[in-house]
């Protein structure tokens, strides 16, 4: 007897600082770009990208798990915004 495999998904969540929040590390990086001779950089903000793999019955359930994770842990809504940049079946699904 074999069981059908649980669907697996991969997601990419981008976390960025809210526009109103000071980003001194981004500002220092922008200044370094200038010193490097890369001209024209007028704004540089540093965020984070999280790559997540998960098991869920379907895409909607996977999305709701990722939303819960992002709201409650990956981002702090006081200072950060997040967006689900990508959500798709895992590439090696079914293997």
């Amino acid at each position: 007897m074999t069981f059908p495999p649980v669907p697996r998904f991969q997601a990419r969540v981008l976390v960025s600082l809210r526009p109103s929040v000071l980003d001194p590390a981004g500002e220092a990086t922008r200044a370094a770009a200038q010193r490097l001779g890369v001209d024209g950089i007028t704004r540089l903000r540093i965020g984070k990208a999280m790559e997540v793999e998960l098991e869920a019955p379907d895409l909607d359930a996977a999305r709701s798990q990722i939303e819960r994770l992002s709201d409650r842990l990956l981002a702090n809504p006081v200072i950060e915004n997040w967006c689900l940049e990508q959500l798709k079946p895992a590439e090696d699904a079914g293997s």
């Binding site: 929040v21 000071l22 980003d23 001194p24 590390a25 842990l73 990956l74 702090n76 006081v78 200072i79």
Partner: protein, 217 residues
């Protein structure tokens, strides 16, 4: 009176709190591992400084979902005194027991120095032995102490007298010169400076000692 000091992987001021409380003031302490769930026999809780979970994700972010902190949240809701120092303050904001967030210092440097402060005790029970507007000096040691909150939140905190500690010379870019905040009930205090490092005279000052002494009747 027994103070519970919550210990996370990466806490490094837990023993400083023990020395300040037991060694300097004679208040017994007990270390509480973050995976424990019991606060039985504990009368006050301190979340000490350090780098819980290596500050992974954000400072305080991973600590705030530990089993012990669910108990601490319930303890605070019952009116139990809770003190968060430095990383402990960051954890209290992640838990939502205090508003706002602590972010990278404005000039990116880790700051380790004495900070002149003014105390505005209001209803904060931890600061009841300090006078309104009293100037004190406490050590700071942090890379992420820049307090951020939106203008409405800050105005509400100011209006309610909850900005109980202010930097006299803002070292890190905190909005409103916020160095410490308490909750509306006055039993939860979070602050970036280290009062436990200013209890023993050999450390150069004892301005922090009355804070822990507030637990003694």
């Amino acid at each position: 009176m027994t103070i519970g000091v919550v210990v996370f992987p990466g806490s490094n001021c837990d023993r400083d709190v023990r020395w300040a409380a037991e060694g300097c003031l004679g208040i017994p302490t007990r270390f509480l591992w973050h995976e424990e769930r019991s606060l039985e026999g504990i009368d006050a809780v301190v979340l000490p400084g350090g780098f819980s979970y290596g500050d992974y994700l954000r400072c305080g972010a991973i600590a705030h979902v530990s089993p012990m902190l669910s108990e601490v949240a319930a303890f605070a809701a019952r009116g139990g005194p809770v003190l968060g120092i430095c990383n402990g303050f960051q954890i209290l904001t992640e838990m939502g027991l205090l508003p706002g967030a602590l972010t990278r210092n404005r000039q990116l440097h880790f700051l380790c120095e004495a900070a002149p402060l003014t105390v505005h005790p209001g209803a904060c029970q931890w600061l009841r032995h300090y006078g309104e507007g009293e100037p004190i000096s406490l050590p700071i040691a942090h890379g992420e102490g820049c307090f951020q909150a939106d203008a409405d939140t800050l105005a509400a905190l100011e209006g309610e007298g909850r900005v109980v500690l202010r930097y006299a010379a803002n070292p890190n870019g905190s909005v409103g010169d916020v160095a410490g905040l308490c909750n509306a009930q006055g039993n939860v205090l979070g602050l970036m400076p280290h009062p436990e490092r200013a209890c023993d005279p050999i450390t150069g000052g004892t301005d922090g000692s009355r804070l822990l002494a507030s637990l003694l009747s």
